[in-house]
């Protein structure tokens, strides 16, 4: 096992990828076209997977790409294209004055308030002493060992949840 406690250019990669991820998220909520929004979302998930790799969480980075960017977003794109939905022009039928939250009214204020509160908490968190020598690489073996011992019951309940979701989706899709 190579020593992964120090990666080359870790700082530069972190700040670049973080900036790109935030940019993709902003582009997603501001894009007019639903398909473009979904593709920005895929890019955002991929970039966050790089952040997971920087945190030495290789298994989560992999399932982030496979499950989130792969399965979930393909499902979204499938539904967007099947329904062919486009966001109505806010100036056409209903004016933005009918809506409490638009980009020009309360939403940015609430966003700034939320961001301020979260940033205050985030910047107040003290660096734990456990990782002064660098982060430790956690491979799939460590995750699996924990998943099937301490978290066995939640794991089994998750399988039940997936079964219920599958039955629910089939029932909803059959009803016309």
């Amino acid at each position: 096992m190579p020593d992964l406690s120090n990666l080359p250019y870790e700082q530069a990669i972190f700040y670049l990828v973080s900036a790109l991820a935030v940019g993709c998220a902003l582009a997603m909520i501001l894009s007019k076209n639903a398909v473009h929004a979904a593709l920005f979302m895929v890019a955002n998930f991929g970039l966050v997977a790089v952040l997971y790799l920087l945190l030495r969480a290789s298994f989560i980075a992999t399932i982030q790409v496979i499950v989130y960017a792969g399965a979930i977003m393909v499902l979204f794109l499938f539904v967007i294209m099947m329904l062919n939905v486009q966001e109505a022009d806010p100036r056409s039928s209903r004016g933005p004055q009918d809506r409490l939250f638009t980009l020009g009214s309360l939403a940015p204020l609430l966003g700034l308030g939320l961001l301020g509160a979260l940033a205050y908490v985030a910047l107040g968190v003290k660096q734990p002493a456990a990782t002064s020598g660098g982060l430790v690489f956690a491979n799939i073996q460590d995750v699996g060992a924990l998943l099937f011992t301490r978290y066995l019951y939640p794991f089994e309940i998750t399988s039940l949840l997936l079964l219920v979701a599958m039955i629910g989706a089939v029932v909803l899709a059959k009803r016309r």
């Binding site: 660096q127 995750v143 998943l147 979701a165």
Partner: protein, 100 residues
Amino acid sequence: MIPLSHYLLVSAILFTIGAVGVLIRRNAILIFMCIELMLNAVNLSFIALAAYQNLVDGQVFVFFVITVAAAEVAVGLAILVYLFYQRLTTDVDDINSLKG
């Protein structure tokens, strides 16, 4: 070494963007995607906090969150498709029959 608070700050920014997106978008599918963005932001802070304490429990929790998100998307999109066939719209301003 990157400070833990910077990871949490990125997570906070992504969460806020998702929350603002839920408020300003009218299309139910896009609102759904913004909720996924918020879940993803929370996952990032889970992983960051776990990694900086040398724990793997955070990764197991994120595994559960991703599973729940997948189940939520499957059922939610089925509801949206059903709603679209009933109303021919996914605009949340037009879906207001629960208001009475």
